[in-house]
Symmetry: C2
Subunit: 186 residues, 2 copies
DNA sequence: TCGACCATGTAAGATGTTACATGATTGC
DNA sequence: GCAATCATGTAACATCTTACATGGTCGA
């Protein structure tokens, strides 16, 4: 029940399905992922329900863009969702389920290579978020991030969490690798 | 595509649908949640595919228990899943999407109460995991957690991550509350 | 006797994934 | 000419959620 709400939130500003896909990949993937094949039908349904409107715009390359934006009704529906309070218990991280069961693997080397992959991926994501933050810093001057307000403040707080979490994951993966090596010695 | 695999992993030991629901609530909810209405059909499908077998057992209270366990074929399918490497990009945390868009809320007090709820919930979960760990410690003696091997080692590493993450979330939520208060003063 | 817990499920509808299908533009 | 990127979708299938349905045991 959340993707339509997330789309609605993004459509405070006009955007096409393709634009939204890029936003997911670039910045939202830390807490949500969605593919084009899910985004297009969801936008159509929002439009059918009167929560967004759309129009065509020419594109520089490729076919015409269908651009969507919140309607007043959509804005209210979105705010209702925010005011429901935090939607907890939506955790879904398959890699942690795998980590939990790693003792059942056949290949004796699997746990090590698994955690190495985790560590490398998390490190790359932490760096990607840090790079995104550097771009922001350039736009906002030396008082960044203390001078942020409104939308930018809340976006930054979420990004900040992403960086903290990914760094924690990297440290954890390294500690796990050390423990695996330690347990093998016994 | 992950719930069937998680069920298979749990069914290294015999368990009923109800037992599995309890395991999700107790210890797996940190990284995955599943309801009974999802578990029962999933178990039936695994049985139809020959990945688990089932038998009836009398229950002390209530109706007979249908107990399931991995077959050899199920065990192999599970190991294949482990060896696919970490399934990344399965993140789905609705509350972070809400946090990202909090500037769009109507009620000026919404961000504060939202982050307070997050902080309190995370603190409760961190404490719950710590309590679970204390039970383990009693079972494993003073060398815990360094004396863990096999399944228990990997379970503990995942629990350890849960505790670290929840503590980080609590600190983050408190920092966010301070930032919200700071931004309101301006 | 009432609520909490044990224990099973089904049905309908919403949501998400995978594979397929199309076609223009830009840079190498 | 080929791959990447821009840009749109549909169809079939798998998965998940919400609501409904049933009934026994235990303790307050």
């Amino acid at each position: 029940m959340s993707l339509p709400h997330i789309l609605l939130g993004l459509l405070e500003e006009p955007a096409s399905g393709y634009d939204i896909k890029c936003e997911f990949e670039q910045s939202l993937s830390f807490f949500w992922s969605a593919a084009l094949a899910q985004i297009y039908p969801a936008l159509k349904k929002l439009e059918k329900d009167g929560l967004v409107t759309s129009w065509q715009e020419p594109s520089e390359k490729g076919p015409a863009r269908t651009v969507y934006q919140q309607t007043e009704k959509g804005r209210e529906a979105f705010r209702d969702w925010l005011e429901e309070g935090p939607q907890l218990n939506t955790e879904r991280r398959a890699y942690l389920a795998q980590a939990y069961f790693l003792a059942q693997s056949r290949a004796p080397d699997e746990p090590r290579s698994f955690y190495e992959q985790l560590r490398d991926d998390f490190r790359a994501r932490a760096n990607r978020l840090t790079a995104l933050e550097d771009v922001w810093r350039d736009d906002h001057g030396p008082a960044f991030p203390d001078n942020l307000t409104g939308q930018a403040l809340y976006e930054h707080m979420t990004f900040d969490l992403g960086q903290r979490v990914f760094r924690l994951y990297v440290d954890w993966a390294e500690d796990c690798l050390a423990r695996i090596d330690g347990a093998e010695k016994d």
